[in-house]
């Protein structure tokens, strides 16, 4: 009897987690709409969605990695570096498709190296990727001589500006990745392995799971996602900007953590991440629409991150005290 009650209570608790986040999202949307009618206009929402794509796919790429107790904060500089790389190669007369392939390949290799070093030498992920982050930012600046390198092409311009059913085309890329990651995490054996590793890596290892290989794969895949994000970035802005990814770590990590993935790993889902991305984007966009100076946007984002993480911590402590 008693046990049954406990189990049911836990289930309720978990369900309410996502719902609370969703309610928070709606409250924030209502708040910004009341503050400024322009917030809820088609033009603004369409811009917001477009801006959300890059944060969104990076957060999605980070989701399985963080569930499996890995971490990478170098994805932003990977986006800058590959963007610059593609633009420089394009200006040297390489064909567009070749540039894109080389760019994505570079990002994949970066992710692979991150994973290989972290897993083979048991390094602390945040420290190692802090290192790669600064190396890549520097390389991007060296390669571009610290200027944005233009890369205007018809194909990318088309991709950046056209809409389908009034929805920007780049948003479909995000939707594609949402479905892909949801499918992988929910229906495949790989998804299950990721959750088993996250629950307890030692148990996973002693069940014969190749923990290191799976994690290296996830780092590599995040690299691939960074490559794709870089292409979208170049398409939207028309340049390879060496500073494009510098400020990405905060919104992306905030989104993932907001979505309920703790640094301790184990739990989390694609939907949590997506709501996290929505909240982060809405705050960013809402504050921008209010014509506040841009420094404040970052401040609000930082505050929101601290607030939510402390709320999760307080709740976890309460739960464990019981």
């Amino acid at each position: 009897m008693n046990k049954q009650v406990i189990v049911k209570e836990k289930k309720k608790f978990k369900l309410s987690d996502t719902i609370i986040l969703f309610i928070a999202l709606i409250v924030i949307v209502i708040f910004f709409t009341l503050m400024n009618r322009a917030f809820f206009s088609y033009a603004n929402i369409s811009t917001m969605l477009k801006n959300m794509v890059i944060t969104g796919i990076l957060a999605l790429g980070l989701t399985p990695l963080m569930i499996a107790r890995g971490l990478d904060i170098s994805f932003g500089s990977s986006v800058s570096f590959t963007g610059v790389l593609m633009a420089v190669l394009y200006n040297k007369g390489w064909s567009l498709s070749l540039c894109l392939v080389v760019g994505v390949a570079a990002a994949v290799i970066i992710g692979f190296i991150n994973g290989l070093l972290i897993e083979n030498f048991d390094l602390i992920p945040i420290i190692l990727t802090l290192g790669t982050m600064s190396i890549l930012s520097a390389l991007a600046l060296v390669l571009s001589k610290a200027f944005s390198v233009s890369m205007l092409t018809d194909q990318l311009y088309y991709f950046a500006t056209k809409s389908f059913l009034k929805i920007p085309i780049s948003v479909f890329v995000l939707i594609f990745f949402i479905i892909l990651f949801w499918f992988i995490l929910t229906f495949t054996k790989t998804g299950r392995v990721i959750y088993i590793i996250g629950a307890n890596p030692k148990v996973a290892l002693l069940s014969g799971v190749k923990v290191k290989k799976v994690r290296i794969l996830l780092y590599t895949f995040l690299g691939f996602i960074a490559g794709i994000a870089s292409i979208i970035m170049v398409a939207l802005t028309g340049v390879g900007n060496p500073l494009a990814g510098a400020k990405m770590a905060l919104p992306v990590l905030s989104a993932v953590v907001l979505g309920g993935i703790s640094l301790a790993g184990g739990a989390g889902s694609v939907w949590g991440t997506i709501i996290g991305v929505l909240i982060v984007s809405v705050i960013f966009n809402g504050v921008s629409v209010m014509n506040v100076e841009s420094y404040f946007i970052q401040m609000v984002q930082g505050l929101a991150l601290i607030l939510i993480v402390s709320m999760y911590e307080v709740r976890n402590k309460r739960a464990s005290r019981r």
Partner: protein, 504 residues
């Protein structure tokens, strides 16, 4: 008045009295009505197998565990320790097997760690600290330099530093938990001298050990615990080794559980000259189909390490493993899994089950390859397979979706077994499979092991419970310091013989 005088004499007789101590943990009784006392300047030996209740008793004395039932008197005064700090203040000091020295600091800093000497300006007074440290060490007959860094000392030296700290804290009761288990012979001799000096100075010592010989070298009196109860108390001069061993191992278990005779098949598992760093040395043995072979050894004998090396969790330094006559290079648990090995680790909650996952996710975690075709996880197959094992092993759970953390220890252990049954393993490595589970579940685990053997599997088991070893297994291999030091057919041996082999 007369009454008062009597009281006074009585209380002065004992420095420490622990009366009727009882301690229960959820589902387990760790201590039942145990009383011990200790005179000034007396050395009391405390004996018992792993899990007999020795460490629980000490942790209550040290304030690590809260005393629920029973009373503690120190110098006749009733004490309630709410924290280790209060216990230290009352003059009790425990020196654990894993020493608590600050290795990157000097000897003097260690001795004064909790009470650094300062001058009026609040600056550390190194001179006084050095001199006082030297004084204490000299009194202990040690010539360790107080300015030496502790990391440069031997284990024995570190122990002396801890004792010196205890003396500096004016400890009246010193508890030593297997102090000689990691010492060289020379250090052991020195430690004995130090202990005798302390005794002369009126310090009382509780001396915990697995080595029975030590009891006769150093103690005045000895108390034996078994199954959370005090089963014997003797003056050392009135007893002998055989009697103590008998008290430690206790009743004859073999009549309670009789296993059926199982036909033995060919050799399924063979290990040749296995080495792992300096932890496993030159280990060779064979196991036949249908056999249950136990591994026994005292703390640090390497039995658990041996199993993690065999399963590929630790990489062997050299040696060969043959499975059904074929050489196998087991470098990762994944390869062990492919070679039909299954592993039930010692630490169930940290290594055996994923506590935050549910029953079916745990059971199928070893065998995802067969849960559906290709990449897709087939939930119907998963449910069928998991519910089959839940039924076969009678795992008591609300549903297949119940989070494993909510199950009892016995049921969690059955899930670990189910993981490897699902995988169709043929060679089971079980590290203390019945540790911390209730008697009913223990019997069920034994039955599962027996059934496995009937189907041609082989079971290797590490156990620290000799009665269990004798009643469950066919053979027992005894290890000490990473080496195999003996092998017995369980039908033809006794607990005393095995214990003797493991400790000498």
């Amino acid at each position: 008045m007369v009454f008062l005088d009597n009281q006074k004499i009585k209380t002065n007789e004992y420095l420490l009295e622990m009366k009727n101590i009882t301690k229960n943990f959820p589902g387990v009784c760790a201590l039942s009505n145990v009383s011990i006392n200790l005179k000034r300047g007396e050395i009391l030996g405390l004996l018992g197998e792993n899990g007999a209740g020795k460490s629980t008793l000490i942790k209550i004395l040290s304030g690590d565990y809260f005393l629920e039932e029973g009373e503690i008197y120190i110098e006749g005064e009733k004490k309630v320790f709410l924290s280790p700090a209060e216990s230290i203040l009352a003059g009790v000091r425990v020196i654990y097997q894993e020493l608590n020295t600050y290795d990157s600091l000097t000897v003097a800093e260690n001795i004064f760690a909790d009470n650094i000497v300062r001058n009026k300006a609040g600056i550390v007074n190194w001179k006084v600290m050095f001199q006082k440290s030297r004084e204490i060490l000299n009194n202990l007959g040690s010539n360790i330099n107080p300015n030496e860094y502790v990391e440069n000392l031997s284990v024995g030296g570190k122990q002396i530093v801890e004792i010196a700290r205890a003396i500096r804290q004016k400890a009246k009761i010193l508890v030593m938990d297997e102090p000689t288990s990691a010492l060289s012979e020379k250090d052991v001799e020195h430690l004995y001298e130090v202990i005798r000096k302390l005794k002369n100075d009126g310090v009382s010592i509780i001396y915990i050990t697995h080595r029975i010989e030590e009891i006769f070298i150093i103690t005045d009196r000895v108390v034996v615990l078994r199954d959370s109860k005090k089963v014997g108390e003797k003056f050392t001069k009135d007893t002998n080794k055989a009697e103590l061993v008998k008290m430690i191992v206790g009743r004859d278990f073999s009549e309670q559980y009789k296993r059926t005779d199982i036909q033995k098949g060919n050799i399924i598992f063979e290990v040749k000259n296995l080495n792992y760093l300096d932890k496993i040395k030159d280990v060779s043995f064979t196991v036949k189909k249908g056999e249950i072979v136990s591994f026994f050894g005292l703390l640090g004998s390497g039995t658990h390490t041996l199993f993690s090396v065999l399963f590929g969790d630790k990489k062997k330094t050299s040696g060969e493993i043959f499975i059904e006559g074929k050489k196998a290079e087991i470098t990762h648990p994944f390869i062990a899994k492919l070679n039909m090995l299954g592993y039930i680790p010692y630490d169930r909650k940290e290594e055996g089950v994923a506590l935050s996952l549910n029953v079916k996710q745990n059971i199928t975690s070893t065998n995802l390859e067969e849960i559906g075709k290709g990449f897709i996880l087939d939930r119907d197959i998963e449910n069928i397979k998991a519910s089959e094992w839940v039924k076969k092993l009678s795992i008591k759970t609300q549903s297949l979706e119940t989070i494993v953390n909510n199950l009892s220890g016995g049921n969690q252990q059955k899930i670990v077994v189910a993981k490897w049954l699902e995988r169709n393993s043929k060679i089971f490595l079980m590290s203390e499979p019945t540790r911390g589970i209730d008697i009913g579940s223990k019997a069920e685990i034994y039955n599962i092991a027996e059934n496995l053997c009937m189907q041609g599997a082989a079971v290797l088991m590490v156990s620290s419970e000799l009665p269990e070893i004798l009643s469950v297994s066919d053979r027992v291999i005894v290890m000490k310091d990473g080496r195999i030091v003996g092998e017995f057919i369980t039908k033809q041996t006794t607990q005393e013989e095995i214990m003797h082999c493991a400790s000498t």
